[in-house]
Structure formats: C-alpha cells, structure tokens
Point group: C2
Amino acid sequence: MRSNYDDSDSKNSETTAARPNRAPHVSPETAERILGAAVKEFAEHGFTKTTIRGIASAAEVSPGLVIHHFGSKEGLRTACDDHVFDAIATAKAANAEYASRAMQMMFDDPSMAMNINYLMKSLLDPSEHGQRYFEHYLNLVEDYIAHGFAGYEFRQSEDPRGQAATIATLALAPTMLEHRLQESLGTNGLAETMTRLAPHLLDLYLNGVLEAVPDGADTGPVSYAARPDRADTDSEPTDSLGGDQS
Amino acid sequence: MRSNYDDSDSKNSETTAARPNRAPHVSPETAERILGAAVKEFAEHGFTKTTIRGIASAAEVSPGLVIHHFGSKEGLRTACDDHVFDAIATAKAANAEYASRAMQMMFDDPSMAMNINYLMKSLLDPSEHGQRYFEHYLNLVEDYIAHGFAGYEFRQSEDPRGQAATIATLALAPTMLEHRLQESLGTNGLAETMTRLAPHLLDLYLNGVLEAVPDGADTGPVSYAARPDRADTDSEPTDSLGGDQS
DNA sequence: TCGCTGGTTGAACACGTGTTTAATATTAAA
DNA sequence: TTTAATATTAAACACGTGTTCAACCAGCGA
C-alpha cells in the first residue's frame, strides 16, 4: 500500500508501531530498470501515449510492480523528471570544458539524447512539469548574457529577461523540431542535424541575417497559390503562415 | 455507414442502385460546427488528450454524429488539417500588406491564434500530419531568403536549404513555447508575448548578439550548483543543458 | 399522401487504460 | 528456524475511450 516514491507523509512512522527504518530486502535494480524504461518510453512516445503496460513490458516486469514502486503514473513521471535532471547535471559536470564540446558530447551520446528528448517532451507538454526546467534554463541563459559564454560576449539589452527568453527559446527550437528537420534535411540523428544547422546558427548569432534594402527598390512579390494538396509535398514555395510583402 | 469525409472509394455508385447524387436534407452547418469545435479542442488540449465526446459536447451534438460526419477521429483530424490550412491561407490573402502587419493581425485575431496553435500542436506531434506543413513553411522561407522579405534582404549562404531550415525553425520557436514564455514573462496572450520578444528578434536578425572576446581575457566561471529543487523555481542561475565554459 | 434518404440520437459494444487486491516468493532479521 | 517485511505477480476492477447499431425525425420527390 505504501509506494517507494510516495512523497506525501514521508518520514512519519508514528501511526504504525516502531518498525526498523531500513528495508530488509532492497533491490533497487528493478526500480532503476523501470525508471530507465519509463524515461525511454516517455521520451519516444510522449506522456499521454505512453502506457504503464508498455513500460512494464519494456522493463520485463508486471504492470502492478510499476505502480507499486512509484505509486502512480504521475509519480513515475515525477521520478523521471528528477532522474533526467540529475543525469544531465552530472554528465555536464563530468566534462566541464568548452560549451561546444559538452554540447556535442551530449548530442552524440544516445542516452543523453534520450534525456534531452525527454526534457523537450516535458517542455512542450501543457502540464506544469516542464516549467521548472524552462525557468532554470532561462536563468542560465540570463547568466550567460551577463557574464559571457564560451569565449563570447553578448550585446547587452535594456530588457535582459526578454532577451534571455528570446535566446533561450531560439536555442531550444532545433531540438524541439528534430523530427521535422530530420525528415526535411535527410539528416540522421540529432547530432548530424545540429552539425548541419550549426554554421548558420553561429553566423546568425555573430552577424545576423537581415539587412534593409537600400531604398524604395522593393523586392518582388510572392505568388499567392493555393495551399499544397496532400501528396505533393515538394511543390514550389507558396504562401503560408508568417505574412507577406507587397 | 458512409461518412461524409471518407475519401476512400469516393464517387463509385455502381454497386448500389442509381441514387440521386444530391442529398435531400443537407445541413452543413452542423458539420461545420463540429469542425470548429474540433479545431478548438485539438488546439487547446492536443490530439491524444482531446476526446470525441468532448468535441461533441462542445458542438452540442451527439458523439455518434461526429463520426457519422467524419468517419473516425483520424478523419476528423485530417478535415481539421485542411480547414486550418485554408483558413490561414485565405486570411493571409485577404490582407496582403507588409508581413509585420499581417503577422500582428494573425496573432491578435483569437480565431487565427487558435489556428496557429493547431498547427503548432500538429508540428510537435510525432505523427506525419505536421510534416506537410513544415515542408511548406520551409519552402516559403527559402523563397524569402532568395527574394527578400518585407523590405529586407537576407545574407546568402552556400547551403540555402540548411539556412532556410535554421531560420524557419527559429521563427516557429516562440509560438511553440508560448505557454512557457507566458508564465515566465508574465505576458498575456501570444500577441503580447511576441511584442515583448520582437525587438530582441529584430536586433538579432539585423546585428546578431555575440561577439568574440578580444583575447585571452577569459570570462568568469559558472557555478556548478545542484539541480533546482522542486518548489523553489526562482533560484539563482545554476547549471543546465547547454554546456559550460572553463 | 406515401416512401425514401439522410441527419441525429441514445444506448450499447469492445477495448485499452490506470489502479487495486489477494496471493506467492524472497530475503533479512530475531 | 521462525518471522516479518518487502518484491513480485496474475487477475480483476472501474472507468474512459473510439466506434457501432438500431431507431427516430425531418424533409423531399412521386
């Protein structure tokens, strides 16, 4: 009846008789296996689509045991939150070199890529789970803006929080759209996709991309074709979200 | 047995007897009301969490009627795809002015904001539904890069497709993270959030944000605090995803 | 008027879900 | 060895889901 990950009423053993505070038969391996399988499933299929039976099957365990260890699906997810946080924190502390190196390493390590994927799923889920991570990341970026990052300095702004939010949001974007980018660019895996985007990102961050056209020499108009019909995806550019020009 | 949105075996009436090709009692309003409710529900709660009963209730209709009109939940979603595509395309064609104006209008109009939200949900869903839209948007951005956009020109790259993918991805990011940004910045609605980010985005696109530190004058180190504990979200910046500096 | 066709509904079906429960196996302590 | 607590499981429960079905209602043509 009392799950291992039930954080409510922890450490109050007055109601029952005085029992030894140490478990006589601990087997943390199984719980860890379940946790690992859960992170993997959550990262792959998202939270609502992932089932406890699927996790149990992946961990070669009965569904009942899963909720025995973690209380509920929500409790399991919370445990996964902490696990992923810790995994990334320790992995980062392990190789505290230049940012690009550490980042590359994280994208190359499949287990780390999975953790990152988990965070993205959490970030995009309408639940409150991801907010904690977003705030954390935002604070980090704000600190980078203030004190520099990997040998670069940031141009300062009158609205540092807004600037940090902007940069943090853009920094997360490629990982969020990994699947879409992969299919569009033909890349394989997050590492390769990031390698493809990296020069453009660096160039953008260093020099920008836009420059105002000298004068009234207006650019050509954009055709207003109809929306692309299903099954002919590689048509010529037409209109879409984002506005137009005259 | 034959749904209105069943695109399989359409227009073959040889099997049954010759029946009049016109429905005797057409009431397309109801189907449209269902479609509208579906887009709204999908955009708000995502696809897996949205239920047919919820849509039916929002449209003040029975669940059976929903699938009578659209065949299945998947058919309904496909119908929503087309509906949102058309709505955005026509809305954009209606005010073919400068991009910023059109964009602002789309964010201000609640119905359009809902459509955009639907597209984001579709884009982030692991299903294939969003890919069509992403390719479409990518083509559009590639065209903008080639021919300019709203009085601006793009610096050209050796890898236009990669550059377009990068810019398209970044452009979509603020909308994807709208909820997170809203809670972090205290803004209200997509329009206000975008207004807050706009100057930083423009500045980034025009001038970049980074500049290399002159020489070996290295920037200060970043503390390696533990992960933030639950329930104290506004802590000082610590470490997180994204790498570090020495 | 009758009869047909499609819109519409309420109830039911089949199934997958998270969770509970009772029972068994296992292991550390007494 | 006995005992007690935990690990683990199989089965069942309660419920929400997408979907089906039989019936009824409304309008239109003959």
